[in-house]
């Protein structure tokens, strides 16, 4: 099974619910709405055999666009067929269904995306900060983030 057949299968099964497909991109991807994602994830893993979540990236696309999560999934075989799935959410309602039960790798990756970008993953069993301190405020990789002047009484911004 190669990428073209994966895309064909997904198109056949989901039809209009796949909002965008770009196979010519440097990193070919499909795009869907958050509501479609749990079903699509299950489909990719069980039907297409994409059994490894290589990477989960969070991106701040800036004002007017919102936040984005990119999932790179691959088959664990010699051909390494794979595809990226992109999901975009607005700032005010940045919720994406969790896929930690589909790919266990997603557990910590979703926590990291929550920690640094503030994307909520609905259904995650333990969505707490993973890198920043427990009582850190804000999500540092957002474009509008201002680092705190003080943290626990220690001056932070010196330049």
């Amino acid at each position: 099974m190669n990428r073209a057949s994966i895309v064909a299968d997904v198109r056949k099964a989901f039809g209009e619910r796949i909002t965008e497909v770009d196979e010519a991109a440097l990193e070919p991807f499909i795009r869907c709405e958050p509501a479609t994602w749990p079903e699509l994830a299950r489909f990719l893993k069980d039907r297409c055999g994409l059994d490894m979540l290589v990477c989960l990236s969070g991106i701040d696309r800036g004002k007017g666009v919102g936040l984005e999560a990119v999932y790179n999934v691959e088959r664990c075989d010699a051909q390494r067929a794979g595809i990226a799935v992109k999901i975009r959410v607005p700032y005010e309602d940045a919720v994406i269904p969790s896929v930690e039960t589909v790919w266990r790798t997603a557990d910590w990756h979703e926590r990291e995306a929550w920690d640094l970008l503030g994307i909520r993953f609905a259904g995650h069993h333990n969505l707490v900060r993973i890198l920043c301190a427990e009582d850190w405020e804000g999500h540092p990789l957002r474009k509008d983030y201002k680092s705190p002047d003080r943290y626990h009484g220690i001056k932070n911004n010196v330049v």
Binding site: A133, S147, H152, K155, N156, V158
Partner: protein, 182 residues
Amino acid sequence: MSETLDQELMLGTESPLQDNILITQVDKLINWTRRSSVWPMTFGLACCAIEMMATGASTYDIDRFGSGPFRATPRQADLMIVAGTVSHKMAPRVKRLFDQMPEPKFVLAMGACTVSGGPYIKHGYHVLKGVDRIVPVDVYVPGCPPRPEALLEGLFRIQEKMERERLFDRTRVGARPKILVE
């Protein structure tokens, strides 16, 4: 100063203790033993730790200067080499380790990050801008990371400081550096 003490002790000439100059001579003896066996604490926080390991390995061989045994507990350590970026999350742990060390204790800030925040000084939201904000630093070794020779030079400065210690000056007034408070 201490070399002559070495000679006096080893050559077995007239003992300095017979002259009843007790305190100065005991000071000398204690400082000589102390600076000859500086035990650093085993912990590295980032890439500087790699250079620290190289300093401990055979090419640079920190053991030549009596500072070989990296202790795995703060209770047995004299010197804390803060090697690497200290994040705000790590800072309370570093402070606690320092507090657990017995006196007299010394801190060597190794590398740009521990000296001032280094490359993270402007955009590093999570980086402590200099470890001297939480623990008193005796010697700063700049570099990114410093070469092993630089770390050894820092160790010599610590040893020089140890030779100026006084037995009954428990508070080490003027010797203990201040924590930077803003």
